[in-house]
Symmetry: C2
Subunit: 409 residues, 2 copies
């Protein structure tokens, strides 16, 4: 993309109302705009990142047998009344339709997916099965802050699975856990898995996937040596205690952001919607149900919290809006255009072809945070090529165009 022809226009100053790094940088660099508290427009750069995170999540869900569908956001009140959510979930947005029928905006989709699956789960032969979608959710939060970490409208992947036995659910949960850790690893994040309470709708334990960050809303205790990790809310240990799992190291306490979660829903929704299957003996039974969430927009915010410095964002390559930020200086437009077209043949390129100062171009490249900055200028050409710099390093290398193209393959 040519910046001069787009609305990709980083701001000189940080927004005054930003209370977190992700809000400040995502607005200043031009990824999002706030419409109201907790509700954001994704500008061209932001939409690209959101789509790339979604794609990584999609690939890993497909690998564990998840089938992608798309459920609607507008729900009839009846399904929420059936499960008790209509009266018990304070963040549920309720709508009075002029047809006289009340509706709700989906804050989760158990109420839609369970009755849907009555048609597809009839026999033990249909189990286990899992279904997911990537869809916007709505929560009527009293306060919404922390940029896109906690939204009133936010993008989430939610998967649901059904099983004959608790044991089968546990086995599948372990597969999904590995898939989740792989998602976060591919995104450059290290997630810790904690036990937490199951929330309002189940007395079972749930699992949370946590990324350490000061902008998070949870406190966790974890062992620096083994996998032990627990949400402080249900912990029976405290910081400084010896790890109860490996008995080697002392537990650390830290702030974290929940980027994913898993709930064992037991028979709650199967019973509410009378979802039954016939087992091998011909008896009618309720399946065990699990649900697995990943906050897509929240993960984007968490990435900015983790990967930024005083100059701006440092996107991991896999989700960066562009791999290359091409900066042309002075009168080298023809050379730059030729290079731009060559680079487009191998990767995604943002070309800063604006008539602004070199200082502004460099500052904006740092703000936006693509992994590779390539500068073509009179100086670089004299030195035999283009200047290449990693966003995360200070070192600048001169390489030939050929060398650059080879490097990218």
């Amino acid at each position: 993309m040519r910046m001069s022809q787009t609305i990709i226009k980083p701001l000189k100053d940080a927004p005054k109302d930003a209370d977190t790094t992700n809000h400040r940088l995502l607005v200043q660099a031009g990824f999002v705009r706030q419409l109201m508290a907790g509700v954001y427009t994704y500008l061209p750069l932001g939409l690209k990142v959101l789509n790339k995170i979604s794609q990584v999540v999609r690939e890993e869900m497909d690998k564990v047998g998840g089938q992608e569908i798309l459920m609607p956001m507008l729900h009839p009140a009846e399904i929420w009344k059936k499960t008790g959510g209509w009266d018990n979930i304070d963040v549920l947005f309720k709508i009075q339709s002029r047809t006289g029928k009340d509706c709700a905006l989906g804050q989760s989709q158990e109420e839609v997916v369970t009755p849907l699956m009555r048609e597809f789960i009839k026999s033990y032969r249909d189990l286990p099965t899992s279904i997911y979608h990537i869809q916007w959710k709505f929560r009527d939060e009293l306060r919404s802050k922390s940029g896109i970490l906690r939204g009133r409208e936010f993008l989430m992947k939610d998967m649901y699975s059904w099983h004959e036995t608790e044991k089968d659910f546990e086995d599948y949960y372990k597969k999904v856990k590995e898939a989740y850790l792989k998602v976060f690893k591919r995104l450059g994040l290290i997630a810790k898995v904690t036990e937490a309470s199951g929330g309002s709708f189940t007395d079972k334990v749930s699992y949370e996937f946590m990324v350490l960050t000061d902008a998070g809303e949870d406190d966790i205790l974890y062992c620096p040596d083994c996998d032990f990790c627990v949400n402080i809310g249900i912990a029976k240990v405290k910081a400084g205690d010896t790890c109860p799992a490996c008995k080697k190291e002392k537990l650390l306490k830290d702030r974290a952001s929940e980027v994913g979660n898993v709930f064992d829903l037991g028979y709650k929704y199967s019973k509410d919607f009378n979802l039954q299957y016939t087992d091998e003996k011909g008896e009618r039974r309720y399946p065990v149900m699990g649900c697995y969430g990943i906050g897509i927009s929240r993960t984007m915010g968490t990435l900015v919290e983790k990967f930024s410095d005083e100059k701006g964002i440092l996107w991991p390559k896999i989700v960066s809006p562009f791999r290359i930020h091409l900066v042309s200086l002075g009168e080298e437009t023809l050379m730059a255009e030729k290079l731009y077209k060559q680079l487009l043949g191998v990767t995604e390129v943002l070309w800063d072809d604006r008539k602004v100062s070199a200082g502004t171009k460099f500052a904006d490249a740092d703000l936006i945070g693509c992994p590779l900055r390539v500068v073509v200028s009179e100086k670089s050409l004299k030195e035999g090529g283009v200047e290449v710099k990693n966003r995360s390093e200070d070192k600048i290398k001169i390489v030939t165009t050929k060398g650059l193209l080879k490097m990218l393959q």
Copy 2:
């Protein structure tokens, strides 16, 4: 995909509540499920088609310089009060938030995009510019019928453009008109462009893109020889009259579905939100604004209305959920699996590997409507290969696996 491992399960009988072909076939073949009137879940097959239509639209919008963003669905009431929509638009869903602030669900996005663009349109140098997104819209319809042709929740591409002069808008409109005709042509549809009234928010003429179908909600008059076409609501001619444009043929009257539209919004929203730019002389002026819609989910419904027979759907190749519907019969599982993997290397394949009768498999292949059916059976192997049949023809050909793979390239 292997059907046995999915929820792709066509129904034996058509749904009883379906009043249109698209509703009946999309439900029976397993593309969608109705959650409430006008609100649908897109199952794996349906989601694939929806994404493919979106992608065609996206490519053509990008070619006319549209920049893709994503605007939210939850809107603060203020912006709708500013334009009068809060009181005048009866289909606007209104929500009382527990924060005390009223919200609306987007039924269009002028109210979001206009204030957004105040930041990006400051000078005549920033014009013309155009922005689009592909996002779900909500309309509180009193009655919602015709399957996915008229939804309460529906997917739409809406683009907005801003111009210095009415003339510049007209020029850009002509470019977008060609892009629209190309979109519909690529989708296998012939769209006619009609003049219509501009609706409640403008006294200017608007343009509608119509596809002839009995399931449509509009009546149009058109010339079989030239481009003349007009919505009967504002026509000064009648069926049987000589075409006022080419004077050659007599006008025909037909039922049509509106799959796209264009509105000249004039200065309405620029003034409401005080969007001004500085012209070449240094004077502050309001830009002319246009808006351009394509109903993505409605187009999917229209395709089914146009491309179906008594056995099921006939998807155009470009939007078909799979190019090949592979049917294996009898004990030829190993051969079928080998072929399935070979085919996956070159195209998208749905493999009916279920243990059901040949009759059921053929009926379901016809219902789902992929362009090419490939059958591998003891009989076909004896004859030297696989049976290949186009969904739109009765003729069955025996070709070798090699021949088939070559045919697909």
